[in-house]
């Protein structure tokens, strides 16, 4: 599922990215913030139903790369799909507005992602692992992978800096 953006060659403020936002039908490795200490499972059905809410939402980052700052929006999600157990997203970073991001994100394998959900429905709050049966995505964060509740998330730029520099010449 994607929203089509017109192509603008050499756009200085569009840096394409892709990432694994979360896993579906898999318990989180740690308790997400807001889940009162419970690990959570986002069901495939809930994730697929919520995909439209993800499009057009922003990616953000926090100084220190250890959490969310929903007001520090540094990019936009334009596509999302459930691929096997992985919910993948892609979009653009505002590279010119946030030049400090590129150097950090270049460290391959270091960065992950974290979703932001609102109105999450929990099937049984007595369960040790909460099953989320419905939710609305309100955004996502780029952060250090080991700070994410899912250790298998990832984030990478589609277009390396070197190639962008060459194109710009």
């Amino acid at each position: 599922m994607a929203v089509e953006f017109p192509v603008v060659h050499g756009h200085p403020n569009r840096l394409p990215f892709e990432g694994v936002l979360t896993l579906v039908d898999v318990p989180s490795d740690k308790a997400p913030s807001g889940a009162r200490g419970h690990r959570v499972v986002l069901t495939r059905a809930a994730a697929e139903a919520a995909l439209p809410s993800l499009l057009g939402m922003a990616v953000d980052y926090k100084a220190g790369w250890d959490g969310h700052d929903a007001r520090q929006k540094c990019g936009i999600i334009t596509a999302a799909e459930v691929d096997g157990k992985r919910l993948t997203v892609s979009g653009y970073l505002f590279a010119r507005d946030f030049p400090e991001m590129e150097s950090k994100i270049q460290a391959e394998g270091a960065m992950g992602m974290s979703y932001e959900l609102a109105d999450a429905h929990v099937a049984d709050m007595q369960a040790s692992i909460w099953t989320l049966t419905r939710a609305t995505f309100t955004g996502a964060a780029i952060l250090l992978r080991d700070k994410a509740a899912y250790r298998s998330t990832s984030f990478r730029l589609k277009q390396p800096i070197a190639r962008r520099a060459a194109l710009a010449r």
């Binding site: 740690k30 807001g34 200490g37």
Partner: protein
């Protein structure tokens, strides 16, 4: 006289502690009741590792809940004669009265005065006011 003063201070401390514990029990019972819904709706979740502070608070709450459970178990062990089936009187106070030979079902102002005659006026007032707060003395 010194013994009486100590007793009075102890009674006041017990009454104050019991009052605080009662409030804590009520708050925790309310919280437990709120969380016992089989299906819940959470306003906001972000898939970032739980902050350390939240984890610490969860652990403190678990400890507090364990202590409350112990206190509840202790309260359940107080004899019916002492409490007259009421649960509003702090356990420590009921036990103290029992040691003085006062049982709730026979309690009236005159009998209580007689039982507490060895205490000072201030101490008697403290005991009576606690009983009045508990609704056990008109």
């Amino acid at each position: 006289m010194e013994l009486k003063d100590e007793l009075g201070i102890t009674v006041e401390r017990l009454a104050a502690a019991a009052g605080l514990l009662e409030q804590a029990v009520e708050r925790l019972a309310q919280r437990q009741s709120d969380s016992e819904e089989s299906i819940g709706r959470i306003g906001h979740i972000v898939a970032t590792v739980e902050a350390r502070r939240e984890t610490e608070l969860e652990q403190k709450l678990a400890v507090a809940e364990a202590e409350i459970a112990e206190l509840r178990a202790a309260a359940a062990s107080v004899s019916h004669t002492v409490t007259n089936g009421r649960k509003t009187l702090p356990v420590q106070m009921a036990n103290l009265l029992a040691k003085q030979g006062v049982t709730v079902d026979s309690m009236e102002a005159g009998a209580l005065d007689a039982a507490l005659v060895s205490l000072s006026v201030e101490q008697r007032i403290a005991v009576k006011s606690q009983l009045m707060r508990a609704g056990m003395l008109g």
